[in-house]
Amino acid sequence: MSYREKENIINIISGLLITLIYGWIVFQRHLEGSINLTTDYNSWGMVFIIFIVVSIVARIIIYIIFHIINAIATREEKIPAEDERDKLIKLKATRNSHYIFSSGFVMSVMALAFGMPVYIIFIAFVIVGLLSEIVDNGSQIYYYRKGV
């Protein structure tokens, strides 16, 4: 398995873990009553800002650990430079993930139009954001294996 494929698998696992753990913590705080996510939309803003910071920090830590383990296992310290094929695969994967995100956005707006509560759109953002990331990394693995 190439470095890029391993990197994509790590991205999928870390994205799932970070979102699920953070989502669980936020949901517990909502149940406890310390934040009200059904009517207080300002707290959704804080939830998203904290999520971005937590996500960046967690990913940096996960990447460092991944790079150390990979360097020990493969005895290759250098991260392979990105070439034209990597760039093309990344572009196609980003296109696929944008399709998923924009479809999810349209569906959540339609849900609002059909009378669903406003907080549904925020929950949809989280789910669709995670899905689009999985599609992005999954597409990259697919193109690396099957060809582009």
Partner: protein
């Protein structure tokens, strides 16, 4: 992803060039070994620039490295 119609002689040319490894060719043309593997297998058609760099690495004309199969001459009106 279907197989490309562009076939190549990279494996043979590597062998004829002192059994050059995929990594050596990759370093010579500024691509990754994975990209060279994909090109050899016909899973990726390189850009014109990379194709020329590969041909230059073997000191051979481009058409000796890459062959376009089923190439039909343009139809005359």
């Amino acid at each position: 992803m279907g197989k490309s119609q562009i076939k190549n002689n990279i494996r043979r040319l590597r062998f004829n060039n002192d059994e050059m490894t995929q990594q050596q060719l990759a370093d010579a043309v500024g691509a990754s070994r994975q990209t060279i593997i994909a090109i050899e297998k016909g899973n990726y058609s390189p850009s014109l620039e990379l194709a020329f760099r590969i041909a230059t690495a073997f000191s051979t004309p481009l058409e000796e490295v890459f062959i376009y199969e089923n190439a039909e001459p343009p139809k005359k009106k």
